[in-house]
């Protein structure tokens, strides 16, 4: 088996007195799509944010693309290989959609303006909103904003993408347009770690599903097995609640 692109070994994280992650072990191979689910407060977002060091873990070891995060000399070198998509989009509201995609390419990848612009336009076309290139985020719908945010992360040519509840802040009719983009990405072979409760997406795209509760990985397996035939009671309870609604 080749070296995993993300390796998480016995990671613990405390927020004050809250023990948010309690010994997480997880390996993600290049090209895998891993979907993490679990009740709120189970630590799934915290785990995701630890992978690109937005949260600093207290003990254990995370290796991303061969670089150990704790001892990384230049965390920015790791981050530019790891695309991140947030629940609240976090587009830069003072820049147009196009400029949102260009800024980091110029600053971090040091690409000339023509090249950065070309890549940006290609990606906006790919997520289906090339005609909105000159719009400001405030002029876009939630679904459009999230698609711009995905394109912005892709513009850095990341080796993997992290999605932190990308559809939770969206109106129901906009969820599909975002999931379609993510599904297309998964089909292209992008390595993805997705925190989401979208069962349809998990079934269609995930190579593995992980159920987390109280800072621990309770159960993992292929989506069909986990959804239809979970072995742990906690997983069953959670799934019965989610599938009901």
């Amino acid at each position: 088996m080749p070296e995993p692109i993300i390796r998480i070994e016995n990671v613990h994280k405390h927020f004050g007195r809250v023990h948010a992650l309690r010994g997480i072990n997880l390996e993600v191979q290049a090209g895998e799509v891993v979907v993490i689910l679990g009740p709120s407060g189970s630590g799934k977002s915290t785990l995701l944010r630890c992978i690109n060091h937005l949260e600093v873990y207290n003990s254990g070891k995370i290796t991303v693309d061969g670089i150990v995060l704790k001892t990384a000399q230049n965390i920015n070198a790791v981050r530019r290989e790891v695309g991140m998509v947030f629940q609240s989009f976090n587009l830069f509201p003072h820049l147009t959609a196009l400029s949102n995609l260009i800024l980091a390419q110029r600053l971090v990848r040091k690409r000339p303006i023509e090249e950065a612009k070309e890549i940006a336009m290609k990606l906006l076309a790919k997520v289906g909103i090339a005609e909105k290139a000159d719009s400001y985020p405030g002029q876009l719908s939630g679904g459009q904003q999230q698609r711009v945010a995905i394109a912005r992360a892709l513009a850095m040519n990341p080796k993997m993408m992290l999605f932190d509840e990308p559809t939770s802040a969206l109106d129901p009719e906009m969820i599909k347009e975002v999931l379609d983009v993510m599904l297309a990405l998964a089909k292209e072979g992008m390595t993805m770690v997705v925190v989401s409760h979208e069962m349809g997406f998990a079934r269609a795209a995930a190579s593995r599903c992980i159920f987390m509760d109280e800072g621990q990985i309770v159960e993992e397996g292929p989506p069909d097995k986990l959804f239809t035939n979970p072995t742990q009671d906690r997983t069953k309870l959670f799934l019965s609640k989610v599938l009901q609604s």
């Binding site: 937005l54 981050r79 830069f92 600053l107 971090v108 912005r152």
Partner: protein, 291 residues
């Protein structure tokens, strides 16, 4: 954050709840372009009338009663220049000190944070007039004393420069207030903005320079404008430390001609026209935002 200019609200109103907004967008834009004043920046600030009224009043007074009003204006005009000069030069330094102090107040570095907080707390606690007097009368003596102690003749022979010391006094004092405004402005930007910038691989300074500060400027523009107008008025305090500013020249004219009503009415109107003009420029800057 969902900033909306009137044009976008109008756009939504005109397009209704269409399923595909992209298709109607161009038509809506076309319609908006035909409506005069739909662009926010195209609107004329209605408060220009007050500027015009005060200017007209001053001109009428000078034209119809050249004695004493024309005489007063002529006498104090170099004071107006000093006041404007003091305000503009100090304000540049205030913005620089404010930005450094504001970032210092939010940094995690304990030494820088301590120094910035100490500066803000001390300066805010002393009246501006006392600070100006200290800079003019005490600071030169301190510099000379140190110069003598370390046998450094350039410092020992230091001669006070009223303009320079007034600028230092105003900048140090207002810089502390400005630091608090900038701190609040930067902290008002959602945390997700910094996280998004950092997750794209930008370093802290790039994220500050290109993502946080441009958004914070929009937030702090009204209070910064407010400080600017307060500064114009507070420069009158330098008349206590040998600066021949507008207030000082007014006092000189009054003592020579014994006509306090005419002199101080004229001086008040001159301050008023300067501050009103500044207020219009500031509100023009505020409407210039694009997003």
């Amino acid at each position: 954050m969902a900033p909306k200019g009137p044009d976008q609200n109008l756009g939504r109103m005109l397009s209704g709840k269409t399923k595909d907004p992209t298709e109607t967008d161009e038509k809506v834009q076309e319609i908006i372009n035909q409506i005069p004043g739909a662009e926010p920046s195209a609107k004329l600030d209605p408060w220009w009338w007050l500027v015009v009224a005060v200017a007209a009043l001053i001109i009428l007074m000078v034209v119809f009663f050249p004695d004493p009003y024309g005489d007063i204006l002529n006498f104090v005009k170099d004071g107006i220049w000093i006041t404007v000069q003091l305000t503009l030069i100090s304000f540049v330094f205030i913005l620089i000190i404010g930005l450094i102090g504001g970032i210092g107040r939010i940094t995690k570095n304990p030494v820088i944070h301590f120094i910035s907080t100490l500066y803000v707390e001390i300066v805010r606690g002393i009246p501006l007039l006392v600070q100006l007097i200290w800079w003019y009368f005490a600071a030169p003596a301190v510099i000379r004393g140190i110069g003598e102690a370390i046998h450094f003749s350039a410092m020992a022979d230091y001669k006070s420069n009223a303009l320079l010391l007034a600028i230092i006094g105003l900048s140090v004092c207002y810089g502390a207030y400005m630091a608090e405004i900038f701190r609040a402005g930067i902290q008002s930007i959602p945390k997700g903005q910094m996280e998004a910038a950092r997750s794209l691989g930008m370093n802290y300074f790039q994220a500050m320079r290109y993502v946080i500060v441009p958004q914070a400027i929009r937030v702090v523009l009204p209070p910064v404008g407010n400080e600017f107008i307060m500064l114009i008025k507070d420069t009158s305090l330098v008349s206590a430390v040998a600066m021949a500013d507008l207030t000082r020249r007014g006092r000189e004219y009054m003592s020579a001609h014994f006509n306090p009503i005419e002199t101080w009415t004229m001086i008040a109107l001159i301050y008023l026209i300067i501050t009103l003009l500044s207020a219009r420029v500031i509100s023009w800057l505020e409407t210039r935002r694009k997003y």
